[in-house]
């Protein structure tokens, strides 16, 4: 300690440590003046085989398709028929209805935990729709939209959330940590960004086998600070892996604003360029822009042109989880001040403006989806909710640790079974 207390040199200004601070805090007016929003349609669409070194403007700019009037403009506007766009809107509305219902279910004590993706519906659903059905997704915990877009049964999602007798994961996993190989949805882990190098490995395996499938992975901007992020981008670049890296920059990692992930000085998309990876920065609340960017990246990967990193610029409208209260760290009405709006409202406005949708149909659909989720919830409750009884046979706790149960787990299983009657008399 003593040697650190030397007298500063008098001819030099003292050094100072910079600790980032968000533009606004509780009690302040929300401040998004630092956010530069490019106009829709102004960003050019490069060829899918573009050299990453030539994509600086795409890493620092913002790909946007939907303008303020709901028109799809510019070179990125995807040529989607009305039916597909309505399906996209329906999936997004279904996720929102689902989130609202499950949030309430947690408050009612039916489960221990939930995480909404409100405001981020477009980063999962249009992206998934732009992939092939058999491309493998390696999500973080806030891309429930992938499962929705692949028509995974709502009741199975709820069974997992309730850890009940029909839980596909047998009550082993924290709610929302879904897994479905059949739906190309890799097992979610609580450990952040571990899925990034795993997705690269999956993509490398596909390439090594001469397969045509690609991989896509998602993490939050906060998680880009993990070492696995760096490893993943390095490996993807080295082996030209057919993968799409999605960074969901929703500007908040629990209570830490994106400045603590290094977002003050550069964009997250720009990180890709340093690895020699094609990079796009996209309006994450613009469903059509996300769809178009993902298609671009998927085509690039599928033609052996290599990986792409996409930063989805969005905003986490709600608390981090049911265990979080954002009023403790950020301005109260940021959500309404956020300049890129709401992804569902923007896609709706586009469909209405093109005469492919209207308010009545929208409201009818909302009601229908709300009823659908409610019905699925009721069905799932028949299989039990968390804390109301023991939903899984005891022995299942010891299964699947290994392919076969070794003697020490067998002994412990017998111990647990012996305790059962004492702990929970019939």
């Amino acid at each position: 300690m003593a040697d650190r207390q030397s007298t500063p040199k008098s001819n030099l200004a003292p050094l100072s440590l910079h600790v980032p601070e968000p533009p606004s805090r509780p009690g302040d007016a929300p401040d998004f003046s630092h956010v530069e929003i490019l106009k829709a349609g102004v960003t050019p669409r490069p060829a899918e085989d573009s050299d990453p070194a030539a994509m600086r403007d795409h890493a620092y700019g913002l790909v946007r398709v939907l303008d303020d009037d709901g028109a799809a403009v510019g070179p990125w506007a995807p040529k989607l028929d009305a039916e597909t766009k309505r399906r996209m809107l329906k999936y997004m509305l279904r996720v929102r209805a689902f989130d609202d219902r499950m949030y309430r279910a947690q408050r009612q004590g039916k489960t221990s935990f939930y995480m909404k993706c409100t405001g981020e519906e477009a980063v999962a659903i249009p992206a998934t729709m732009a992939l092939d059905r058999d491309d493998m997704c390696f999500p973080s915990y806030r891309q429930q939209g992938i499962l929705i877009a692949r028509d995974y049964p709502l009741i199975d999602m709820i069974n997992q959330i309730y850890s009940n007798s029909a839980d596909p994961l047998k009550g082993r996993q924290l709610p929302i940590m879904y897994s479905s190989r059949e739906h190309g949805f890799f097992s979610i882990s609580g450990n952040l960004t571990t899925q990034y190098p795993q997705a690269v490995g999956y993509a490398m395996a596909s390439a090594a086998k001469g397969d045509t499938r690609i991989a896509a992975t998602w993490c939050g901007e906060g998680s880009t600070a993990e070492g696995d992020f760096h490893a993943a981008l390095t490996f993807a670049a080295v082996y030209n892996a057919p993968i799409i890296f999605n960074i969901v920059n929703n500007q908040w990692a629990i209570s830490s604003f994106s400045g603590f992930a290094g977002g003050e000085r550069t964009t997250f998309a720009a990180r890709g360029l340093g690895y020699g990876i094609a990079a796009l920065r996209v309006d994450g609340n613009d469903a059509l822009a996300v769809y178009a960017a993902t298609r671009w990246a998927a085509d690039r990967a599928r033609t052996n042109k290599g990986p792409t990193l996409i930063e989805h610029f969005t905003y986490r409208s709600e608390g981090h989880s049911t265990s979080d209260d954002p009023s403790g760290y950020r301005a109260a009405d940021e959500k309404t001040a956020w300049p890129l709006g709401d992804p569902i409202e923007r896609l709706k406005a586009h469909l209405v403006a093109s005469g492919e949708w209207d308010d009545d149909r929208h409201e009818a659909l909302r009601t229908e989806l709300s009823d659908e989720v409610k019905a699925a919830g009721k069905e799932a409750e028949k299989n039990g909710v968390l804390g109301h009884g023991l939903h899984q046979p005891f022995e299942t706790m010891f299964e699947d640790v290994y392919a076969d149960m070794p003697w020490h787990l067998r002994e412990q299983m017998e111990q647990a079974l012996a305790e059962k009657d004492a702990k929970w008399p019939k």
Partner: protein, 334 residues
């Protein structure tokens, strides 16, 4: 074959037999590995089966987890066990748990090979024995061979195993069965019967110990290099010890241990790793719990000291013949 050649042969055999086996790691490809364990394999099997990786242990293991999820059977190499720590999160939080958390939808059928152990003047970061970190993780198997014959058979079984296996190779005995006498010339494997290794496929089941010396006076539990050191001391002292090479720490051959200790009434545990919370503590507890009424003396542990592995004081640190002899004399007198 020496142990390197046996490992190379196991990898070659599995690359031939199973098109899903791939090898990756630092310097394993063109160059054939810093210990030559993968020499010639890239040339024979191609660059997409055996390839060099960036210097990134979390990347190597994380990528291998993803390859396993796809359906491959990766055999990643970590150049020294001392450098496995950046990959620990991918092992403990991911590889070890993917089967469990996904109810078998995704598995991690990978074998992480890594040279471990001291006795080579490797200093602090080329000598460690971190096996107890892995035996403490549920979902991972930990395997350590002590001869060329076992190395090939166990490695093939590990690669074929659908669970993640940490396969530690005692680099001190890559070239010959070191007996702990650092001041004497090293014997090559050629003079040892276990260097007679079949060229073709065979496997040694994981979870089965090998009784390398049958005896009545005391049971010695060891693995890796320490099997040879303990065996040499026992022979030199003319003690009728039963020496068991555990070969696989998890799953452990508890039956072999129990049978032996109930017969001898005494148990000495030898490992190179540091003592506190080392695997010897688990072995000692198991023996105490399961053989208590057969024990005629306290279970004794001969281990490395609870210090980082020193460079110049290597032979003061290493649990060699004198430390083993002292312990044996004590346990037989008690």
């Amino acid at each position: 074959m020496n142990m390197i050649e046996a490992i190379n042969s196991a990898l070659d055999t599995m690359l031939d037999r199973d098109p899903d086996v791939v090898i990756l790691g630092e310097d394993v490809g063109y160059f054939g590995g810093v210990f030559r364990a993968t020499a010639g394999l890239q040339e024979k099997h191609g660059k997409t089966r055996v390839f060099d990786s960036p210097i990134s242990e979390n990347g190597i293991i994380g990528v291998a987890v993803g390859m396993g999820a796809y359906g491959l059977r990766p055999v990643p190499e970590i150049q020294f066990a001392d450098y496995i720590y950046p990959g620990l999160d991918q092992i403990v939080s991911e590889a070890a748990r993917i089967r469990y958390r996904s109810v078998g939808q995704f598995i991690a059928p990978m074998t992480i090979r890594s040279p471990y152990g001291g006795g080579i003047f490797g200093g602090q970061t080329h000598s460690q024995s971190p096996e107890s970190l892995f035996t403490h993780m549920s979902g991972v198997k930990t395997v350590i061979p002590s001869t060329p014959y076992d190395a090939k058979g166990l490695l093939i079984a590990a690669i074929e195993c659908d669970d993640p296996v940490v396969f530690f190779e005692p680099k001190r005995i890559y070239n010959g069965p070191f007996d702990g006498h650092y001041d004497r010339p090293v014997q090559p494997w050629a003079k040892h019967p276990a260097s007679d290794v079949p060229k073709d496929y065979y496997r040694i089941e994981l979870g089965k110990a090998n009784i390398v010396r049958v005896g009545e006076a005391v049971t010695v539990l060891a693995y890796g290099t320490m099997v040879h050191v303990a065996l040499a001391v026992v022979e030199e002292l003319g003690i009728d010890a039963e020496v068991i090479d555990l070969r696989s720490l998890v799953p452990l051959d508890i039956e072999a241990i129990e049978t032996s200790v109930r017969k001898t009434g005494r148990c000495m545990i030898v490992h190179e790793a540091t003592r506190t919370s080392g695997f010897g503590a688990e072995l000692s507890a198991l023996v105490q719990e399961r053989c208590f009424y057969h024990l005629e003396a306290p279970v004794i542990r001969v281990t490395g000291f609870d210090t980082p592995y020193p460079h110049s004081l290597e032979w003061a640190y290493f649990p060699g013949p004198i430390r083993i002899k002292t312990a044996l004399e004590k346990i037989l007198k008690d």
